[in-house]
């Protein structure tokens, strides 16, 4: 995005995805966001940092993405009494990010909705954990908040509260349905239950060690997060990672994508009343995870991606075994895809269910897998291909349907594409080292790591302090953008279809609540 017509200066920021860094005032912030919106860009992340120790007050950072890469707008806020403009009229996805930013940092946004988002009375409302003068050793008895849900009134309207402890084996969150009969008039989400202080925890760790924490922000995306984190750390260190390490990272990333898609396809069949699908796909997933365990010493490949490379290597026998498994899996999945496609009962459940039109997806900033199910073909691997994806181009997948069936179709297509990539990665794997020592890290440097995980783009904004410490680390999960869309996707559907629609998005609670 060219920001110079707005009188904004831009500097290049180190990173794999082209990124420009632009100091702005509030007027310029709004103008740049409007310009980005008009040019088809969208909001990727928004966070605050406490720079009062460096006599710079607080800093608001707004990360936008368009066809040219990232634009990071930086607004200086002199003190805690400052406030920043509401970006949600331009980017609706900003609303919850702004509320969460206030809960953790105590700098307010001018938005109408001043309800807390991450905060649920675990600490006093006038204390802000991410401020540098917050006493991290202090703790309080958890209290109870009285959250102002929006109610729908009228004859026959009633309310169904669900969660945080759900009926299935899933993460905790609260859903408030307003219904007439079985029809959903409105769904309001209340998240934040799994907030466990991840960002504050990062600040007590060194850059070299914190990949373990990054890999546990959302366990189902451990490779994605660890790679995004490592990418940011490597950009700060300005070091080049050995090619073999990048190939192995991509191999693990695609294996993670396949594993999660296999699991989801099983559960989508099950939630559609087709238990056969769960039995079959969970079997395939188990076979897949067992190979992970034998090759990478961990079923989910946790702690395999480290700053400077990877902590594992593969030999020819393992590569051959993985190629054989890839070919066999492609055949198995094809058989199951045909069965899913031909099964009238399942198709009846998943078609025209939980629809999100392409127009709504763009307007509200849907990202990742869910966006591709509404015909929006954004994918970091295709849009900004970095090694090894520059040598092995990814075919973008998109289905315009916008319903559960489209999100099922995207998963099938992405499995086949990932299997093709895995085969390509294994046959073109360069020789050489898999890890280098990260050089000494300069203080007060910031970089963005961004990786297209199975759920969508995961972003890590990492800022160093002195002596290899972490000054600030803000992880951003694609679920931030997609949770609000789930509220739209269920409108007009019946309550029993909610689990199916929810599963078709399969969003992260932990990655969102931090």
């Amino acid at each position: 995005m060219n920001v110079s017509p707005l009188g904004i200066s831009a500097a290049t920021l180190d990173g794999v995805v082209p990124t420009q860094r632009c100091p702005v005032n509030s007027g310029q912030l709004l103008a740049a966001c409007r310009l980005a919106w008009e040019q088809g860009g969208h909001l990727t992340a928004l966070w605050l940092s406490d720079d009062r120790d460096r006599q710079r007050g607080f800093t608001l950072r707004v990360l936008l993405r368009d066809g040219d890469g990232f634009t990071m707008l930086e607004l200086a806020l002199p003190d805690e009494r400052s406030h920043f403009p509401d970006l949600s009229p331009i980017f609706p996805a900003a609303a919850r990010m702004q509320r969460a930013a206030f809960d953790l940092m105590g700098v307010a946004c001018d938005a109408d909705d001043q309800r807390p988002w991450t905060w649920q009375a675990a600490w006093p409302i006038d204390q802000f954990p991410l401020r540098r003068d917050f006493d991290a050793s202090k703790s309080w008895e958890p209290g109870q908040e009285d959250y102002a849900f929006v109610r729908v009134a009228g004859d026959g309207v009633h309310e169904i509260p669900v969660g945080p402890v759900h009926a299935g084996i899933i993460e905790p969150g609260h859903f408030r349905f307003q219904v007439v009969g079985e029809k959903v008039l409105r769904l309001e989400e209340r998240l934040g239950y799994t907030h466990k202080g991840v960002e504050k925890r990062f600040e007590s760790m060194g850059v070299h060690d914190a990949h373990r924490l990054a890999g546990r922000i959302s366990g189902d995306s451990t490779v994605t997060y660890a790679w995004a984190y490592a990418q940011a750390a490597e950009a700060i260190a300005r070091c080049a990672v050995p090619a073999r390490a990048l190939w192995l990272r991509a191999l693990m990333l695609e294996r993670e994508r396949v594993a999660n898609h296999l699991g989801d396809l099983g559960y989508l069949g099950n939630d559609g009343g087709f238990a056969f699908g769960l039995a079959q796909f969970s079997r395939l997933k188990e076979d897949w995870l067992r190979v992970n365990a034998s090759v990478f010493a961990h079923r989910f490949m946790m702690d395999a991606v480290v700053p400077g490379g990877v902590a594992c290597d593969i030999d020819d026998t393992q590569a051959q075994a993985m190629r054989a498994q890839t070919a066999a899996l492609a055949k198995e999945v094809k058989v199951l895809q045909d069965i899913y496609d031909d099964h009238a009962g399942l198709q009846d459940r998943i078609r025209v269910c939980g629809e999100v039109s392409g127009e709504l997806a763009v307007k509200l900033g849907l990202v990742g897998l869910a966006a591709r199910g509404s015909g929006v073909a954004d994918d970091l691997r295709c849009d900004f291909p970095a090694a090894p994806y520059d040598a092995l181009p990814v075919r973008a997948v998109a289905h315009p349907g916008g319903d559960v069936a489209a999100r099922v179709a995207v998963r099938f297509d992405e499995i086949f594409e990932s299997l093709r990539l895995i085969d390509g990665l294994l046959t073109s794997m360069p020789d050489g080292a898999v890890r280098i020592e990260l050089p000494e890290l300069p203080a007060f440097r910031l970089a963005i790591g961004a990786i297209e995980g199975w759920r969508g783009p995961v972003v890590i904004a990492l800022e160093t302090g002195s002596g290899g410490s972490i000054r600030r680390c803000h992880p951003h999960d694609p679920s931030w953008q997609n949770w609000p869309l789930l509220e739209y996707a269920v409108i007009g559907n019946i309550v029993p279809d909610f689990p199916l629609i929810n599963k078709s998005f399969n969003l992260s609670y932990s990655g969102h609540d931090l």
Binding site: Q120, A121, A122, W123, P129, F134, A136, K138, S139, W140, P142, Q144, P164, V165, A167, G168, I169, I170, E171, P172, G192, Y193, T194, H195, K196, G197, V198, K200, R201, R212, L213, R216, I217, S218, G219, D220, T222, G263, F276, L278, A279, Q280, S282, R283, K285, E286, L289, A293, R299, F300, M302, V335, D338, I339, D342, H343, S508, Y509, S510, D513
Partner: protein, 203 residues
Amino acid sequence: MLHILKQIAKTGLRTETAPTADETMVVATRLQREIVRALGRALAIRQVDAGSCNGCELEIHALSNPYYNIEGLGIRFVASPRHADMLLVTGPVSRHMAIALKRTYDATPDPKLVVAVGECGCNGGVFGESYASLGRVANVIPVDVEIPGCPPTPTALLRGILAAITSYAPPTPRIEPTATAGALDDASEFSDPPVDAKIAGAP
């Protein structure tokens, strides 16, 4: 329909022999006797994610796949704590989940077992204790069995769950004192029967 039957026949039975109970995971033995006396091994589990990264949930899901086939052992996951004999709790317990976890515990009828899952459930893990996290599950509700691992494998989970219900021989004659060995014998029935050729060739 034909394709489905064919696929089922081709897949065959994949269930493996269940692992043995791992008694080293037992941290408290207050209730096993009562539970086993009342239920044998027909156990109902309510899983509670009290703030995990969702890694443990992936492995708890895997318990229901055809390889581990936890239902084949008589163990079911249920939708309500009121139907449960055991709470399977992943951590760390976030402060925002503390009240919900305590209420879930209170809603579970006595006698009940609590199994803490994962490094975070056992000791707070990489998240530790903080303004937002209470750390290990035992900091919030009484725990009987702790299953370490990040995340614990399905086999480790089974060993811990079985330890909770079989580590003490029940005092009543209804279940033989060799309950642990019995569990293994039962499970081995599932492990290797051949594919039914009649189904495979069915029209």
